[in-house]
């Protein structure tokens, strides 16, 4: 079993217009920058993107928005000082936003991966973000019903990967990545080091290979925060 893909282009080749894509990462950590930029090269449009944020700077998801590839964002914290492109698009009605509390976002994605179509959470009860959602009382307390989230594709970033798709992560770059791996029809991981089968201790595997469909090695991955501190743009000609 070898899930290794030969190129970034191959990795994103199946992602057509209108797809729903989960993209791992939280702020500048754990974002699969090379996969995102390969998707920008492919130029898919009308995408729904699920991520905690709506991009920062002019690379990664922010660059996808600048390239007008995204018609809807599902996230918890889309506000950003730079760039203003999401803000401007949102305020002009050019991009749809589904705002979800961060813990509910994580749990909805896990539910999608675990075959749980709906669950109840105290989060959001009595707030504007629960409007229209079913409410139920358990043991005298009120809870909001939330639904699973699934996607056509997940693009994630991992640290070690083996040919069967077993993955580990690097520090807080783990965040949403293992959850998204579970919740997509097709999960593509960029790994910083592709290691031979058997080199990842079965005790230390965070994402078992059953959740991963393809992986591509990017041995010195770009880090979103560092790119942004350098003022990087993608594509470079977009400057």
């Amino acid at each position: 079993m070898d899930k290794t893909l030969s190129s970034l282009a191959e990795a994103v080749s199946g992602i057509g217009d209108g797809a729903t894509i989960m993209i791992g990462g939280f702020g500048g950590s754990g974002a699969p920058i090379e996969l995102i930029h390969a998707l920008i090269d492919r130029g898919s449009r009308n995408l729904t993107v699920i991520n905690n944020n709506a991009g920062n700077g002019h690379v990664g998801i922010a660059a996808m928005i600048e390239q007008n590839m995204i018609s809807k964002m599902i996230c918890s914290f889309p506000r950003s000082a730079d760039p203003k492109v999401f803000t401007d698009l949102y305020l002009s009605g050019g991009i749809e936003l589904d705002l979800v509390p961060q813990g509910t976002l994580a749990e909805r994605i896990r539910a999608g991966g675990a075959g749980i179509p709906a669950f109840y959470t105290p989060t959001g009860f009595g707030t504007d973000l629960a409007v229209g959602k079913p409410i139920a009382e358990f043991e005298g307390r009120s809870y909001v019903q939330e639904r699973w989230l699934k996607a056509d594709f997940a693009l994630i970033k991992a640290e070690l990967g083996d040919p069967m798709g077993n993955l580990t992560y690097r520090m807080a770059a783990r965040n949403f990545n293992p959850l998204m791996a579970m919740a997509a029809e097709r999960t593509i991981a960029q790994v910083s080091s592709l290691v031979p089968l058997g080199e990842i201790d079965p005790e230390s595997v965070v994402t078992p290979g059953i959740f991963v469909d393809g992986l591509v090695e990017i041995s010195t991955p770009k880090q979103e925060e560092i790119l942004n501190r350098r003022g990087a743009r993608y594509p470079e000609s977009a400057a």
Binding site: M1, G115, P163, M182, L197, P208, G209, F211
Partner: protein, 228 residues
């Protein structure tokens, strides 16, 4: 016909062999405790199959030699197993996320009864005693294909493929294919669809041993297995 039937019917090993032929290269598979576990022995050469067990192991291999068991490394049937390269451990909630979340390509279970609607009864005879369900009710949901391996009839000759299950259900409309000692039968939109039968058995005789109509679409192949 019972003696004649016993002479021609497949052994459990032959049923397991037949089921193994349908497991595709690269599949993630859960084999139920007992008879279904035998399928792993007949995995065709050159196919890479990753086995899942409910208690949190993916990618396990054969049983270790006697005396070399590590009893912290067992499968859901509490039998000692070994690891293959690329295996992983995880807790029970993640294990059943794999099951319920549709990540397994195939789950194979035993059966008391299977209805033409795909309903399965395999956990309780409904006759008292201590009820025990284990992971059966979870496994019938989520896997892309849910197959059953079973004798075609009970020890007393009653059909196990029926119109409605009379025993307590494990799941509703969940089975997609049945490998029996006499035939291979698909569930197709609430009906049995006969795919293969033993050459030595006439369609009418097979129908007589089946509790609901066997439909045909596109011909019936011979159910042919090696002697095992």
């Amino acid at each position: 016909m019972s003696e004649q039937l016993n002479a021609i019917k497949l052994s459990n090993a032959q049923i397991a062999w037949r089921a193994a032929q349908d497991i595709e290269d690269g599949s993630y598979v859960n084999l139920g405790i007992g008879f279904p576990e035998m399928i792993a022995k007949f995995q065709p050469q050159g196919r890479d199959v990753v086995y899942h067990t409910e208690n949190g192991v993916l990618g396990f291999g054969k049983a270790p030699p006697e005396g070399e068991e590590d009893w912290d490394l067992i499968n859901a049937g509490k039998k000692a197993i070994t690891l293959k390269p690329g295996s992983a451990f995880f807790h029970h909630a993640d294990s059943f996320a794999m099951v319920r979340g549709g990540h397994l390509d195939l789950a194979v279970l035993g059966a008391y009864q299977v209805a033409e609607t795909g309903d399965l009864a395999n956990w309780s005879t409904g006759r008292g005693g201590v009820p025990a369900v284990g992971g059966a009710m979870d496994l019938v949901h989520g896997a892309k294909r849910v197959a059953v391996v079973t004798d075609h009839v009970t020890k007393t000759g009653e059909p196990k493929l029926v119109k409605h299950c009379t025993m307590p259900l494990t799941g509703v409309g969940c089975v997609t294919r049945i490998y029996t000692s006499l035939a291979v039968v698909d569930i197709d939109q609430g009906h049995f669809l006969l795919r293969e039968k033993l050459a030595a058995l006439s369609f009418d005789d097979l129908q007589a041993l089946t509790g609901a109509t066997l439909n045909i679409a596109g011909g019936i192949s011979d159910l042919d297995t090696p002697k095992l």
